[in-house]
Symmetry: C2
Subunit: 347 residues, 2 copies
């Protein structure tokens, strides 16, 4: 990879006292605040604080534009850890908005550990079992107005301890946009905000992770991407843990500036019944991707003890499947399909 | 298995001339009628005639109750064979009704051949390739009124030729009902009609295939069956090809008497917005089963050259996902869930 670009000093929030910072969260964190305070230098703590902060920032920004309030559910996983699910349903602006944090720990078999990484590295555990910790924030927002796009993001961190006590760790994540109609200005703003965050860390991050996103969010049986992409990455374990975390932090901090300006811009756009119907058809495709291909959903549904309601909160409140739906040539619906069939460069 | 019960002579339709019988179909069959005529003694021909007849009978019965007309699409598969998809969308009674026939042939790898059978027998092909033929009729009907249940059926036949020229063949199929509310009379009529058809052939068929149905249509991540079941079987290759076909024919001929009386009974039942909303939530679960677990859908989506619109016509026109939806204790919605969580005997 090429030259690393120095990054600005945006670290203010992290200087604060942990207990103080926890007061701004949607609810108390999964790990007891005093435990976090005691281990404030550890990556697990830094990441848990980041995902809680991201959830709070995003939820508050959405509540402000909608006027509604998130339902906050704190849940525990009997095998270890738990999560905080924030859902707003049938609001003024948002049909369904979910922002979920989970912090899970326990033991993995060697087979399961191998499957957790997209590159599938083999890991050696004590008696075949490996202590692990997985945490992340993920969100899907489905607005009512078909001129406001759906957004999804997810930022996550994994740690696995091998037999010899050494720790494997990596980050993954991404943010992607699923509009119902093509709007080049929105697409530029969204991608450019992500690109600027990426460029602070490495000039190859945006182009590489933009392509990865187009490949990952692909509904193969339709020959269409789910939306107009964004960035997606996994197995990020370089150049150092601190620098990888710093990159993830930059990404997590774009979720509000990436999306909220687009929401405000289209808040009062008028729309027709036909535009609403096309949004419903696109939501059907969203469901197809999430249930058939999404690795997180598949992993979640197959994992005993996982919280189904939190995994499936990504599904829209309503969706539609029309037999042989094909937009008229030259229509704005056909323009959208064309972009989904041939991903574009937006910046 | 126990005593075989003799079956009534219901074979009238099969005495007719093939070309004459084809006139009653929704459109000309996939295999040219003259080819069928020339091979009228072969099982492939008998089964293709049966699935075409079942499609026509069922479609006509639905058109009569709805007043609408099926859109008929005949399609070809470039690798060999094709199908006929009949869909009625947004009718007076039916929100979406699909009845699909497909007759597909070509070559399978040994691996694919093994996967086609639920018991996964190993088969030996010439240079690793096995000529095969697969055909079936399948249907899913989603009515508008929440007091009319959704029905699904599928009857299919496979043939694979091994290296030594010997032919492996088997039948599969089933019919199952997915109501929105429990109605014991409907459940009895539906199951009893299936039981009577099964009992003509073997006293163990109904109990065995009823249990298989409850196990197959299971949404594991929800801990619920998709509906109140019916029958389901696969790999049926005994006691003889003729007798197995005769059983499948009896089943295929129940699709109208199983379902249409229930449709007529509830045609004008009044319903509330709450009942409609519960129907939409149940449809969301239907989508979850079909996209996450259904073997036919998974196989179809992963098969290059398959017709996606015909595979996914089983999805409802509309569906809904509500976060943390839980019916009130003692409600009719809770009664339905209870039955889905603990499958019952209906006859």
């Amino acid at each position: 990879m090429a030259t690393k670009i120095p990054q600005p000093a945006l670290e203010k929030r992290e200087d604060g006292d942990i207990l103080e910072r926890c007061r701004g969260f949607m609810c108390s964190p999964v790990t007891d605040a005093r435990v976090l305070q005691e281990n404030k230098g550890e990556m697990r703590t830094k990441m848990e604080m980041l995902i809680m902060e991201t959830q709070a920032e995003f939820c508050k920004a959405l509540e402000e534009v909608d006027g509604g309030t998130f339902q906050v559910d704190k849940w525990q996983r009997k095998e270890g850890g738990g999560g905080i699910s924030c859902v707003m349903q049938d609001g003024k602006v948002f049909e369904k908005a979910g922002v979920n944090v989970s912090v899970v720990s326990g033991y993995l078999t060697e087979e399961a550990a191998k499957q957790m990484r997209s590159r599938g590295k083999a890991l050696k555990g004590k008696d075949g079992k490996l202590p692990f910790c997985a945490m992340g924030v993920s969100s899907v927002i489905h607005p009512k107005n078909p001129h406001i796009p759906t957004v999804h993001f997810n930022y996550r961190y994994f740690e696995i301890e091998e037999e010899d006590g050494s720790r494997q760790w990596w980050f993954g994540g991404g943010t992607d946009l699923t509009p119902v109609y093509v709007n080049k200005d929105d697409a530029f703003l969204f991608h450019n905000t992500l690109k600027e965050a990426c460029d602070q860390h490495h000039p190859q991050y945006y182009p590489d992770f933009k392509n990865w996103c187009d490949r990952y969010f692909y509904v193969r049986h339709r020959g269409e991407t789910r939306g107009i992409g964004g960035i997606f990455f996994d197995d990020l374990d370089s150049p150092s843990q601190e620098e990888a975390f710093s990159f993830v932090k930059s990404c997590a901090r774009t979720v509000v500036p990436c999306y909220l300006p687009i929401v405000y811009k289209h808040l009062n756009d008028p729309f027709t019944q036909e535009e609403k119907a096309w949004q419903q058809v696109r939501r059907g495709r969203y469901v197809e991707f999430n249930l058939v291909y999404d690795r997180g959903v598949k992993f979640g549904l197959a994992t005993p003890g996982s919280r189904i309601e939190s995994i499936l909160m990504s599904l829209p409140l309503t969706a539609r499947w029309e037999y042989m739906h094909e937009p008229a040539e030259g229509s704005r619906e056909a323009e959208m399909l064309e972009v989904l069939r041939n991903p574009k460069e937006w910046v």
